[in-house]
Structures are given as structure tokens and as C-alpha cells.
Symmetry: C2
Subunit: 315 residues, 2 copies
Amino acid sequence: MRTEEIDVLVSEVGPRDGLQSVDRTMPTELKFRWVDALAGAGLREIEVGSFVSPKRLPQMADTGQVVAHARGIEGLNVLALVPNLRGAQDAVAAGAQALTMPISASRAHSLANIGKTPEEAIREVSRVAGFLASRDEPVSLEVGVSTAFGCTIQGPVPEDEVLEIARACAEAGADSVGLSDTTGSANPAQVRRMFTALRRELGERAGGAHLHNTRGQGLANVVAALDAGVRTLDSSQAGLGGCPYAPGASGNIVTEDLVYLLESMGLRTGVDLEALIEAREIIREGLPGEPLYGHVPDAGVHNGFVYAGSQEVTR
Amino acid sequence: MRTEEIDVLVSEVGPRDGLQSVDRTMPTELKFRWVDALAGAGLREIEVGSFVSPKRLPQMADTGQVVAHARGIEGLNVLALVPNLRGAQDAVAAGAQALTMPISASRAHSLANIGKTPEEAIREVSRVAGFLASRDEPVSLEVGVSTAFGCTIQGPVPEDEVLEIARACAEAGADSVGLSDTTGSANPAQVRRMFTALRRELGERAGGAHLHNTRGQGLANVVAALDAGVRTLDSSQAGLGGCPYAPGASGNIVTEDLVYLLESMGLRTGVDLEALIEAREIIREGLPGEPLYGHVPDAGVHNGFVYAGSQEVTR
């Protein structure tokens, strides 16, 4: 699978966004097996953990080990979340190939989430970009602008402020800047408008969409993002996770349902749905009783479903 | 609300499609209250029941009474499903203002569902249209082409056959012909393509979209339908219902989540979400223990949500 061409990159965030949102810790050995299974199902990029204080998020304390393990998987892009320079140094030391930094467009959310204003957070992006530039081996830096479509604390976030922050992050040295619907407030008209504007502003540096399904609108927003040219979409197996610091917000879009959507539309993901659905067993084993979301795992694919590129039946 | 302009007609099918899919019967008095509450929340059109044999669907035996009751609600378009001429006669006698007839594009589904081939079903459309034309008071006739996006029994349904059936129904005298994703097989690329073709073929007589959420793709398909110019969307409160004769298929799109989607996008529905969500209590009372679906009823609207047309904040 790994060498086939794909049309859309499904970036799996479950091992980071999912596992940091539950109040138990999945044993390291099971994280290894889960990452193996996700990559084995054909996912090309996995956000495997977060380099934050283990006091704050003990679920992520073994991220260095998970990165090192994931680096052993051929063809996988191993992504880690870092909040600051220190986290970036740890991530690079562990072997991460790409770093993602969250920057809140909402001042209130930024302070609540990382204790910094957006301006301070952008200065940290500069520091991390400088550090990465000083090294021989290339490590890419992605920024995700969170609360880009609204905030549970401050309410609407002005769209020009979101775009201004995205521009500032690109100028600070981020290789790509995506937009996150952290609080599940986005609607398709807004998603289309914002990603169109982002691409106009940043061109090739316009990043992917991180969408939530809090209000059942996740895949509707995916359709709008695709229309706006987005070709990288974050999702979480079984819909695990969300943002623990945005009260009332929960629910990443479900990787299983997203892959089905894309393949049905004729967009190749490289993912095998059956193998992907099997990987849910590892969550059941590692986090017994945790609710697992998704419609396709229950309903199965439809009669006549074919993977994108296989034939033209459903296209 | 009733006199305000709207951009999209949300056609509520719960009292028909929802109630015929559960194996209990909601008491007539509660059906009255539910229809009252739905109309009170601002819905302009409700499919209140089905004029079929009470032996086959005892849940629908009181449809005549429900139609008569609903006719007392000012400004409401009272729609009833009819399988044939006899049902149409009963529906008109009861006071229905619009009739909807299902025609399966899939031959296998048509035989399983109504015991007729598609050609026989189209002849029945002619008979019903002739009957309606012979009367003084206008009653409109809508046809919904079911299994238009695939069939659980026969698999893919050729798109040109679907369009051919739609054309034949319009020629037979249907005022509008819509497309139904009876089995939850549709994807947004297909929905966009099919409704674009339908409008090209039928112009003003191209009808609405009846979409299911079987695989979590319901609102994603709504976005595609809107793009293709569709302005009438069927949905069911709490996602009640689906097609009982298509094995494995279930789950109408949820009216609450649909209204939220449309209003968030700036498309006026005339529906008050709070009043709509309150109406769920009547289902709880009438069908205790029945699973109620929908994300917006649990999550609420987002901080900063405004109804379409109120202001520009989220648009």
C-alpha cells in the first residue's frame, strides 16, 4: 500500500489527541501495537504523541518511546505535538520527523490552553523554526491554528484575526499552517471560505483541516474543505479525543467514516478499511469500556463499494 | 415564523418514515401532539403518514385522522405517502395537500418493497396523476426515486436508469421527482452529480433529496445536494426511521442536526431549534426507550451561534 499514490492524506491523531483526552493511560506496549496496526492499515502519517510535561498529561509520558518505535515503520511520517522549544528538542532527539504546534486564534483559549497569548505563542514558533533550521536532518514544522472557527470561551473568532495569525506563523518559519475546529463550531460555508482564504494567503504552505464532529457536522465540513482544495485531513480512530481544555468540546472526526467517505468519492487514501476497523480491538483492549464512535464499523461498507481507483462503479 | 421567507424547505418525515419503522404504534393523540410541536417549531411541511394496508403497517392505520388533524394547522403543507391509486384516493379524501409516491430504481428493491416492477409502479403514477387532475382542488404529486444511489439487494444501480425512471415519472404527471438514498450508500460526489443531472433533465420539476445517515455520511451528502441546487431536504426528528424493507439500512438524517447545519451556513429554514429539540419529549413519551439520535440536542448550539438572516457573525 505504502508506495501507491494517494489523493488525500489522512493524518491519524488518535494516539495523541485521542489518548491525551482520556483520563487513563494506554500501556506503552499497546500504543506500539496500535500504531503498528494503524500504519499496517495503510495510514501514512500518525501523530503519535505529545512532548508536554508528564505532570500535566501523564498519558503522554512515554511519547519518546512511541516515536522511536514508530520510526521503525517504513514509509510512515511520524508526527509529534510540541508546545514549545523544549518539547521540540525532545521530539527531535526522539526521532520525530515532523512537529506540530498548536496556536490558538482565540486569546481566551490560548491563555487557558497553554498559558500564553497568541503573540507569545508565535514567538515560540520562531524559536522552534530556528532550532530546526540549525540542524542537518530536516524536520518539518506544522502549525495548527486552533479555535479557528469559534471558541467555547470567547465565542466567534474574527476571521481576519485567524488569517493574520496563520500568516504570522508562516512568516515565523512554519512549513505549513492548518486550521482546527477545536470546539466543533464550524459550518461548511465557513470552512470553504476560510480554507480558500488560507490558500490565497499561504499558497503551498496552507496546511490541512482538523475538524471535529461535536455537532455531527464533521464530514459535512470535510466536503467543504475538499472543495477548497484541502488534501490533508486529521481524524482519530473511533473518534477518540477532542480538546480537553475547551469545555463542552469533544469528538474528533472518525477515521473509519472519513476513509469511507473519501474512497467512496473516488479519492484514494491508501487505507484498507477492514484492517483499520480491526485496529479498534486494540483500543478495546487498552482502554476497556471507552466509547468507540463511527458508523461504518457498525454498518459496514455498502453493497457495491469499491476503493477509489479500483473501478468506476460508485464514482 | 410561518410567514417568513425561507431558503431551504426541511420536510419532516418522522411521523411517516420514523413511525412506520418502529414495531410499536404511537397513540394517535401523541401523533397529534408531535405534529403540532413540529409545526410549532416552524417546520413548513410534514409527511404525516402513509395510506397503506393497516395489515401491513398497523402503525399507520390512523393516518387519515392525523392528516385531518394536521390540516387544522395554518401554513403547514400536509404530505402523505401513497403506494397506489387506492391510497391516493384515501389520502385526498382525508385532506392531504400533497402526495408522495416511492418508486424504486432497483428492480429487486421494487419487487421486495411494493411487489411491482419499476415500470408497473410508473403506470401507477400515471393513474394517480390522472385522478388528481380530474379533481377541482389541487393536490400535488411528488415522486421519490428510492435506491437511487445503490441498493442493499442488487448493489449499484446504474445512474442512467435512475434518471430514466425520474424522467418517466415526470412524463407520467408527477409535479416533482426527487432522489432517495434509501440504503445509505450515497457519497457526496455521486449526490452532486446525480442532482445536477436531475435538474438538467427535469428543470423545475427536479425534487428534493431524501438522505440517510446509515454510514455517517448524511450531512456530507446534504452539502453536496445544496451545491447541486437542491432546496428541499427530507429529515426525521431524532433520526427515527429508515427503510424497513432494505436489510441493514436504517437512519434518516436528523432534523435537529440538519437545521443547525443549514442555519449555521446562512440558509434560513424558519425552524426554532430550541422548540424543535423540546418536541423530542413527545417521542420519549410515545415510544419509551426508542433510541433518539442527533448531536445538536446533546451538544447544544455553539457559543456565538445565530440563526441565518439574524446577523453576519458566523457567515
